[in-house]
Symmetry: C2
Subunit: 150 residues, 2 copies
DNA sequence: GCTGCATTTGCAATAATATTGCACAATATC
DNA sequence: GATATTGTGCAATATTATTGCAAATGCAGC
């Protein structure tokens, strides 16, 4: 993992649709050598996957929200059950067990508030293991970065 | 945007490293027709970008945290200044202005707690516009999804 | 510094893939 | 139901990825 590997990873994190020839030129290597580095980075698991990032609004998910959740029962199995249930929801993009104020943090991508209402019924209300939850609707997205700085 | 487009977007959201020939076969189109759809989806902006997703741990960012921030001054220019400052930080992967309990939610990817300490100095302490902040360290990641369900 | 070993590199040949023009089919519009 | 618009598949071509191999590079032990 040297300077050239880091360069390649940065290029790939920004735009993985570029050709190998192109990137080889930019990092100052021959195409074959560059390709072998990229293959190594993939097989070793540093590069987890290569994916298309959609524009959420153009995909019909216009509302984003962060929800903090406090559970009633805090046992390991209860925590796991709640995380599994939440993770199974399409609208839930991120689900974390956390320290501090609350037990769980969820990030949501919603089509509309009706979807949120129905989601609350399934995850938070009545018969669920949720004591309290706090919803923070996203007003402005200042940063949303998949790339990890090296 | 028909059934085939949605199929293609789902494939691309899961794995954009597959060849056009491969995906054409899976959705039941000829390679040329499939390629033209993909090009259209890119130019129209539904596909925002194609990127490599790294394994955060293998990239040296082993700690994740969610931080909620309450500002002292809530004016538009103060909010913007704080969001810009936070967004400029490498460790900040997401920065949102939100409704509800607090004003801002940040998501962090950290190398160690020393980096967190230094980040707090720059963003939250003393001369900053921050009244209070609550840190939630991620214990378990149950879901972390870039794909948007269609 | 030298030697031997392992790794990386660049070149050239080959295989695979993307890309384009074009005629035809499907679909929508009036 | 006629016409315009869009989407499709085929075939030819251009790009690109991939592989074998010899040379170069880096590295440990001496």
């Amino acid at each position: 993992m040297d300077r050239i590997d880091r360069k390649l990873l940065n290029l790939m994190q920004r735009d993985a649709s570029r050709t190998n020839v192109d990137m080889a030129d930019e990092v100052g290597l021959s195409p074959s050598s560059c390709l072998r580095r990229l293959q190594r980075l993939r097989k070793s698991g540093v590069i987890d996957k290569i994916v298309a990032i959609l524009n959420p609004a153009r995909a019909g998910r216009v509302i984003k929200a962060v929800v903090t959740v406090e559970l009633k029962l805090h046992g390991e199995q209860h925590m796991r059950r709640f995380l599994d249930t939440a993770s199974a929801e399409e609208a839930v993009s991120h689900a974390y067990a956390v320290t501090g104020e609350t037990d769980v943090v969820l990030m949501l991508r919603l089509r509309d508030m009706e979807e949120f209402d129905l989601l609350c019924d399934r995850l938070f209300r009545d018969q669920t293991n949720v004591a309290r939850f706090f919803t923070m609707i996203v007003i402005r997205t200042a940063k949303e970065e998949t790339a990890i700085p090296l």
